[in-house]
Symmetry: D2
């Protein structure tokens, strides 16, 4: 009897081909966050039962750009950086499950396949996109500094259409980089049934968060955010009613698995 190896597909004799190695996965990067309020009913639309709206500030949304370098425990990806660097933009809301508040990523775009693979495992609904955010640099010839007056832009496109763009002007040090993405994540992992029209073959609600986190000084500032429509996206169903704030922060993170909250056989809704 043969047992193929590998954390993810494709599995092989050695496991070396796997799109992603087993966790832990480590990340170093910069986060640009804009938080705003939208109609809570639009947030509720994105919460499958039994998830419900967060009680406090239920219409709060965070859109986050992240410029990452990442690696597995071998750290070998760092020396072949086409395999370690990626960018992403994602939209987070909050929800309640069994009386606890969770963060939940409802939309996300990345620019590498290994990031899609990790997202599948973690329940992030990743698509490919083109994501850009201004980088700080020690020399200001063509870069802002992470300091008062530093101006950062961020854009997102997919399917050859621009979906979002933000501008953040830093004002001051901040005790936080926002609150919407600050809880453990409650995500679904779903496999539609293989037969035409069949219900989901697998559906699981999982919880996860960083197993290690280090954050630099957070900065807040004035933020502008524009969302655009697209035939394949629904970002503009979460329109900006009021900007809460804009934030910039450099972080180091480790992710090393989560735990199952409920599965299809527990009645998890698709």
């Amino acid at each position: 009897m043969n047992d193929v190896q590998g954390f993810f597909y494709p599995r092989s004799a050695t496991g070396r081909s796997s799109l992603i190695p087993a966790p832990p996965w480590s990340y170093s990067g910069d986060l640009l966050t804009v938080e705003y309020r939208t109609d809570p009913a639009r947030v509720a639309e994105l919460l499958p039962a039994p998830l419900t709206l967060a009680e406090d500030d239920p219409g709060a949304v965070a859109i986050i750009w992240a410029d990452w370098q990442s690696c597995s425990s071998s750290r070998e990806e760092l020396l072949d950086p086409v395999r370690s660097q990626y960018k992403e933009a994602f939209v987070v809301v909050r929800c309640t499950f069994r009386g606890q508040t969770y963060s939940r990523c409802v939309y996300i775009w990345v620019d590498k396949d290994f990031a899609i693979g990790r997202g599948l495992h973690q329940g992030y609904p990743k698509k490919l996109g083109s994501i850009w955010q201004t980088r700080p640099h020690v020399f200001g010839h063509a870069a802002p500094q992470i300091a008062p007056g530093g101006v950062f832009g961020a854009t997102l496109a997919a399917g050859d259409r621009r979906l979002a763009e933000a501008v953040l002007t830093l004002r001051e040090e901040s005790p936080t980089a926002g609150f919407v993405n600050g809880h453990p994540m409650a995500h679904h992992r779903v496999y539609p049934g293989i037969a035409a029209g069949a219900p989901d073959a697998f559906a699981e609600l999982i919880e996860s968060g960083a197993s290690d986190f280090e954050g630099g000084q957070a900065w807040s500032g004035d933020a502008e955010l524009r969302l655009f429509d697209s035939p394949t996206e629904e970002l503009d169903r979460l329109p900006v009613e009021e900007i809460i704030g804009g934030y910039y922060r450099q972080v180091g993170v480790v992710w090393n698995g989560g735990r199952s909250l409920a599965t299809l056989t527990d009645g998890v809704d698709r």
Copy 2:
């Protein structure tokens, strides 16, 4: 109680954001196939129990380049072709399950995210790659014809490394375009457990094939194939011992689901 819509993630109130719409999915495209023999032990390595080697010609491998246009039943993707065109290269072997012969895709690279999403559903272990194959054209100024003497090249790269390249010179009409990819597909669909080190949370062996298929005249010819090594790929663990043949064929295909052969609870090995 709220029920989100959408065949795949992300699910929303309308389902419009889903990375892929529900099947049926239709395809029009050109296939360039090179079939060869490798050491059957290397094929066996890629077959998780209870799959076993095909009895007849167990070391036969097909590497197939495909240049596709595809759409869902709405056909709307055809008018926004960034959403309908994609290229892929994939490696197919054969195996036996419960006395039946199946084809099985062991490696595959595509160049669009919707193709990754469809592959997840169908059990194709898709990664991103850069795939190119010579196109025939009615005017031969810079194109071969699908006719004796027509020469076609095909290349595959991933992670900024070239993985495979083939040259096919058409010789004559052929009754088939090869035999390795000619059976129903037996694929695994797997979700690793969310807890660190946990076994698979979901594993299913599924069978699927075209619900509709139309093929043009197949052509056979002389084929060359070179496979290159890479730290993240194992194509070169299936070295070419003997070329069986090279083929070119234009096809139209519809895929509309499959059926489950076994699940984790039936003892499907990871």
Copy 3:
């Protein structure tokens, strides 16, 4: 004394590194054209003296999508098709020089560097873009046919913004595929002076056209065209006032140089 080799940069001992080999260059491809009228004053804006508006239908504009396979006289690029296939979208107007009518490409986007290099030589003002057009295929499962009722879409994006999209529904065979791009091309080739604020160091008005051309049956049909704004593009300064027609045609072309019409020392305006 050493003489480096190579048609274009970089020049080396062998010339092999040159971004493009010497002409002749051959092309096989499909052209989707939409012709329309805009305000002639907007066309005139794009014609440096001594070029003037065409007398007949001076506001006529063609926007053309082309899906190309191309090669040099060695034809070696055809077997490494990442070096031979590219797509482009370009905007053509007409002008008059010394009493002759010329076509002139005022904007163009391509998706490969060798196409940029060839454009530099030929005076096409090429930028990078993302260009897509629906492909016909013998099997209609996910493709139109070049026949009455065939519907083709075409899109253009650059800088992560969509710039143009067209839909063409074929109606009938047509004696032509439009008239705007039907003349020899009159293009400028310009090198700005290297010193800050200096005038052009080189400016030449050249004429060129196909040295060989073969075209299939042209088809005309109903066309829709939408142009979008962008901070770095001016397509929308040529708004559609009236659609003239839409066309589809497969062609084979050879380009093998042109001739100089005037140079800076002849008083060519920048």
Copy 4:
């Protein structure tokens, strides 16, 4: 009489469409340099008359990876960073002209079209490539620090083939980041004649360098470098005979034009 505007093509009524705005151009970025010795005859091959080998260490070569953010004097590109960020890898040798030592870029790859346009103006022979280099980050979870023991990788690919890869392990502060790229640049700007087989229509030898430069502390370390062959590139005609050193440095630069050293009419060789 109409005078079109714009520093580069395409020129228009407003000049806004120009692929690149007029200098000055500003840059903030990180440079990873590997210097080595090759056979001086191979360097000489790349020097068109009247350029000759540098007298001192004539076989010295620098290959430099750069991760840039850049902008024009409006700085507007910084808020739409798809227009300001790019990566490049380039090969520099030294040469002598009229008794002066110059640096000269003989090969270069970039990943944006505006970088190609700026290179055309400056005489850098730019092609498109895929360039990656490890980034330092304040949090070491998935990043090195610019400090003793920091390990950085760098890779270059073009045409779906890997061309070069380097690994640099920082050891200590260094008074310089190498010497090969330390002189004013002597570059050719060339337009082949438009007629088939014609000699160059324009050829100019220009000199340029930074109009403003600020550099952080340079670091030196142990470097490995591997160069690979390709049918379209000649990097491997400059094989590594002996590593001189590896360097890392963060810099801020402004470029604002250069000066003409000689033109075709002065007898500049092609």
